[in-house]
């Protein structure tokens, strides 16, 4: 049976684990490895950065047109290995985006993917000289 992670330091995280306590009950923007942007309220976490998040919306952003659309996903446990980064959403910082109809945003996103997607790998070969 594995040692409990936080044994010996009741109420305190081990010194080696990033303190995510300060982010609990805060609204976070979470970016996943596949590029998805989730926004929700962090409730619990563990040493693998597995996150339990409530009231998640998946935000699709078209940066060129400064519009976004949300898909409500509810409560999820996000496996830590899929997390790239997350940050607290600062309500005072305006991101200058306006909400648009979901169908339009998804269509534009699919269009962008079609334009850049298949050629990305080739471009990488040329520019990065892999």
């Amino acid at each position: 049976m594995e040692q409990p992670v936080f044994e010996g330091r009741p109420g305190k995280l081990p010194h080696w684990a990033s303190n995510l306590e300060e982010h609990v009950d805060k609204k976070l923007l979470i970016i996943l490895r596949d590029g998805r942007k989730l926004i929700g309220w962090l409730r619990t976490f563990d040493q693998f950065a597995n996150l339990l998040v409530e009231h998640i919306v998946e935000r699709h952003i078209i940066f060129e047109e400064k519009v976004f659309a949300d898909i409500y996903l509810g409560t999820m446990l996000i496996r830590g290995e899929n997390v790239c980064l997350f940050g607290e959403v600062d309500p005072e910082r305006q991101d200058g985006l306006t909400e648009a109809p979901l169908a339009d945003v998804l269509a534009k996103e699919a269009q962008n993917e079609a334009e850049t997607g298949p050629f990305c790998a080739l471009q990488d070969l040329v520019t990065k000289q892999i």
Binding site: G35, K37, A49, V83, C84, L85, F86, G87, E88, G96
Partner: protein, 99 residues
């Protein structure tokens, strides 16, 4: 533990770094904390390359999972290479020649 200690010294000195992730995103900010997994926390994040910026427009501070980091771009003058080399030799001695 060497780079964990190294990052902790950078945290103490409030060094500004640019973290390049494996998905090509680049984030600049002040190192706020690091842990044993080299997860990083950056304060006052900003954009340096709009194409590689993940729309963090309303985020001031962020947590970056260590496993997704490709590079941490450091200011050269903040890195004491001699001290790092000494630490490295000491750690190697502790670990022993058989490893």
């Amino acid at each position: 533990m060497l780079f964990f200690s190294f990052f902790r010294t950078l945290v103490d000195r409030n060094v500004q770094v640019t973290v390049e992730l494996k998905n090509d995103l680049c984030i600049t900010g002040t190192l706020q904390s690091a842990d044993q997994f080299l997860n990083l926390k950056l304060a006052n994040v900003s954009v340096n390359d709009p194409d590689r910026y993940p729309h963090l427009l309303s985020v001031k501070n962020c947590f970056i999972r260590g496993s997704v980091v490709r590079y941490v771009h450091l200011p050269a003058h903040e890195v004491d290479t001699e001290s790092l080399q000494d630490s490295c030799r000491r750690e190697a001695k502790q670990v022993g020649p058989n490893r």
